[in-house]
Symmetry: C2
Subunit: 717 residues, 2 copies
Amino acid sequence: MYKQVIFILILALSGSLSAQQDKQFTLEELIPGGKDYASFYPRIPVQYQWNGNSLAAIRNDSVWMIGNPARINKKTFIIRFNKIEEGMADSLGSISRLTFSREGSSVVQFHATGGTGLYDLKTKTHLSFFRYPEQSDNHLLSPDHTYLAFTKENNLYVTDKNGREWPVSDESNSGIVYGQAVHRNEFGINGGIFWSPSGRKMAFYRMDETMVSDYPLVDVSARVANVKNSKYPMAGMTSHRVTIGVFDTTTKETIWLKTGEPDDHYLTNIAWSPDGKSVYVAELNRAQNRMQLNRYDASTGHFDQTLFEENHSAYVEPENPVLFVKGNEEQFIWQSRRNGYNHLYLYDITGKMLKQLTDGTWEVTEVTGFDEKGEHLYFISTLPSPLDRHICSVALKSGRITQHNTLPGMHTAMLSASGRYLTDRYTAHDNPGRIDLIDTSSGKATLLSRAENPFGGNNMPTVELGRVKAADKVTDLYYRLIKPAVFDALKKYPVAVYVYGGPHSQMVSNRWRYGSGGWETYMAQKGYIVFVMDNRGTSYRGSAFEQVTHRRLGVVEAEDQMRGVEFLKSLPYVDSERMGIHGWSYGGFMTINMLLRYPGVFRVGVAGGPVIDWKYYEVMYGERYMDTPQENPEGYEESSLLNKADRLQSRLLIIHGDEDPTVVMQHTLQFLKASIGAGTHPDLFLYPGHGHNMTGHDRVHLHEHITRYFEDFIRKE
Amino acid sequence: MYKQVIFILILALSGSLSAQQDKQFTLEELIPGGKDYASFYPRIPVQYQWNGNSLAAIRNDSVWMIGNPARINKKTFIIRFNKIEEGMADSLGSISRLTFSREGSSVVQFHATGGTGLYDLKTKTHLSFFRYPEQSDNHLLSPDHTYLAFTKENNLYVTDKNGREWPVSDESNSGIVYGQAVHRNEFGINGGIFWSPSGRKMAFYRMDETMVSDYPLVDVSARVANVKNSKYPMAGMTSHRVTIGVFDTTTKETIWLKTGEPDDHYLTNIAWSPDGKSVYVAELNRAQNRMQLNRYDASTGHFDQTLFEENHSAYVEPENPVLFVKGNEEQFIWQSRRNGYNHLYLYDITGKMLKQLTDGTWEVTEVTGFDEKGEHLYFISTLPSPLDRHICSVALKSGRITQHNTLPGMHTAMLSASGRYLTDRYTAHDNPGRIDLIDTSSGKATLLSRAENPFGGNNMPTVELGRVKAADKVTDLYYRLIKPAVFDALKKYPVAVYVYGGPHSQMVSNRWRYGSGGWETYMAQKGYIVFVMDNRGTSYRGSAFEQVTHRRLGVVEAEDQMRGVEFLKSLPYVDSERMGIHGWSYGGFMTINMLLRYPGVFRVGVAGGPVIDWKYYEVMYGERYMDTPQENPEGYEESSLLNKADRLQSRLLIIHGDEDPTVVMQHTLQFLKASIGAGTHPDLFLYPGHGHNMTGHDRVHLHEHITRYFEDFIRKE
């Protein structure tokens, strides 16, 4: 029955598409939040998870199990979500997903709207429920499934399956926050609760923000507009103070790691030793140019040892905690860019480096995990091209590196318990998404499931990949170029450059349509050439590539983007008199930056949520790239757009969410003020009630608004 | 020497102008705040004040005296301001103006930046100094020149000439305000300090705003944006509580008038009895449909008597306190629109109406004062045309009304002590401003001083006056129509309609160029026809004309403006496909209102500081015209623009000051939100740091921005 359903679906799809070869896609179809977006977003119909060495296949709310990965066609129907929902003594709402046991147990954790719990797939019985208290958040079940940790307002609690609740913190001052992500989610931080391997103890963050200035966000949806203050430490100003507690579920007592002074340091990448006796913390100074990997006693909080230290003249940026070698409590993996690229290092717990496991002018981007015996470590890498992500493994003993996938593209992997098999989920410019099963011993790949091309037989705008030399005349920069479906090289086309250009980003890679998004398709449909290029300062190309922008954001990035512009101007079919540029966040900064540093190049710019002056940006990200305004006044001056507002010659639309807590509206308003003083005329639009990005259906309006501005001032003039 | 200076100036002026017959004026020249605005704004070079029956003439900082108004050429030089400044024991800064004694004393009050004081022009000696304490405000000298009252932060103080200071209030709660204007300056209120005639006592307002909700205004000019809360009672919500204190300078004690309940009533138009024993207060209920004129004992605060009461089904709106007849402590004048037009009534202090002094389908707009014997009351009126303001007097005994000026125009008067002479300051469509001396016995008028036409011999856009019938097909509405200087009736011209349309306004009157402002000239220079019309709901035409909009603001006003549009469309030289509309505040409301009620009429609208929904407007003004949202839900719904955002077909630019305390930014932001939801696309601009109006040089930028929007979407499309 399962195969039949697919067959019917495909028929229906191709039938409807063959009748629409020249369909012009609407923003409702192309933009996330659009009414018809889901129909045109590539979707792999079946999802997979390892359950030991068996493979669970989930399609919608039904679960099958493939007992032997060598015979993927032999699968057994297991259960539907609603069967689990029905069996609950007290409803926890609908189930959105299951977490299977990596070890192969038949007990799954289900995640429902109102709580979580354990269910035995074999006996078809519920084992436990953990109801989420009202307005609670950050729910995290302990590894032994005994306790659920959660936060409510700013406090941290644990509860057991009987609903008994223990407060871990009892703070009335809302400026002090427990159990949540700190340091504004930099340094790889995405949560504030860290269970020990056994689940007996729980490390957690405490953040004191009482000394941080409030940034006022005004909510106009209330009867009378009211202020929601946001603790926002701006570059060079007083920052918050973070400490780490360890809660013992047995004694219900908390000890504090003695992380010491100065207290505006960064406590990042928390990890437990396998025996649960120690906590590892990667500690950075506020200047972010020194990292110490420190170990603390989890029972007393005493500082144990600095295992090693990393220093860099620009900055260090650990984003991954220590990872212990499977079955070996004495050794761990550390990721570092100390030699210019992110690589894997093997350490022992005395802090001695045993071996550099990977090396070269490429980066490890993600660690997948160990095989059963801890002999091979699987990871994702940019080897051999930064446009791709390949699944590799390294043999810890020999250092031999094996690539497991064959086709280029962006791959991620999940490993079976033994390590014999992995699922390879990937996409490439001509592949909207598929999942293969790879036998790591033979290298054989078998298709598990794949997404259809959502645009079917339509004559779509074409996406080309290419490279230009950076302003240094040496470095290759990658671009994608989107052309209208019906393209006449003898005509002249207007151009829309889409830009981001900041750290932690890569816009161009070998994913579906080279990463080209719905708005690019839309603009190409309207007859624009769209161009997107990753300048220096972006990611996955090593430290030198990224850090060339250090202390003067916007300068080198703009020089590089101008090489892209020159390339565009060299194309006979480009109308260089009708070029526009658009970007969001760092890309908003870049958009205005380009207009002001190179007046006359672009006729139009649309900047969303733009940084205008880095002094209004936050401490963690801002000081990493710019140092403080006190330390680097010339750099801040050079990067600032406030002092360049008089140079505006183009049409510039600035868009901001009026409750943006990330790039606060002060940026845009101060730029307006500077422009008014300088007698220049940017335009403005605000999205009330929105934060840094417009989500939901309003995102369609946003792209209509952006497009309209291009049309108004590029096409009609 | 005096005459010679004028002569040279005129020569210089006309010389420079004759060389510029076709000058195109810039916004810097046409807009207040512009760098060259002062050169092109009509300025009467000499100002006059009565000093008893002598006439003081002030030109820049020099003072002359005309001892006998019958011989105006015989004038004596008296003093220059800097002479008075030099003589100060301790500098109070530079003097901006002098207040001469109406009784004819040689003692003048000078007003300097740092204080005020008395100076004897005869003896050329200083009599007293009152230094303004730092950050003090609302300075008011007692009539006997003994005490200076002032406010500092929210408290009220008096000081004497020796610098001794007495706190009248000592309030630490900033939500309670003393000595300042209350009720948001409605009901003619423009201050909070009221000296008794002798200067022994001082009545003052106390306003408790602690129960009023805060509206957050965000100041982005600070290092980190911060909130300045503004107490803003919105329609239907809890309002502030006002009481009246009386401070006795002899005892330094305060008593409170027992004004009673309900305490959200309005205490307006405070006046003293001539003997200083009673205080008169015009009290309105919150619904504003009942006014009681009440008298209180100034020594005890006890309620004495309700003299009379006025009721109206829509609203009553007293804006002038009782005025005692000169030399008669038993009789006073009361202004009321009780018969549909604002007229003068003579009362005695028992509350008995003795006589209606004026009557007819015209209004008294201002009372000038009594002659020496209290036999004639001088006033300004709309008799015979609402486009003009004439100087009239009424004989209290006979009721005979005399008009004292001859030429049409907008006149204001100041009366000599005897009442024999008056200065008549006026302007008319062809008169940029002049001051005549009128002998009230002979009616003879003599020119004192006049402004030059600042545009000299230039070929300026023409301004025409005319009338169209209102939507009721009966009422005349007045308009002005501005045409380009070089006009060809065979061509088609685009149109800019400028609109206000709300209560308390009159845009079209017989003043210089019929009131046409600099932006209208600028637009006409650019080839637009500009049209401005006062619809029903505006002022000086009586209650019925004004109150036809009651409880449904925007409906009748728009119907009337559409009659103006139809008139425009009937003109052969109007391009009805290229019409735009612009207005500010109520005019911003009207602009959007017109676009949404009559989609397709205007291609472009520019709305500044617009009211979008009256529920976000304040209690005093809002409830007068709309009642509360609870009482009038249908009217609020009908007036609201939020529920009509889907009807937007035109290009609409909304402009707001981001610290607007009058029409708060919630209006504009909520309209954006509604538009986003409806899929329509208004445009936006904000002026950071500005309130309800853009002042200073930014006002030039504003008008450039408005003009650009018209040009973008009317001319270029």
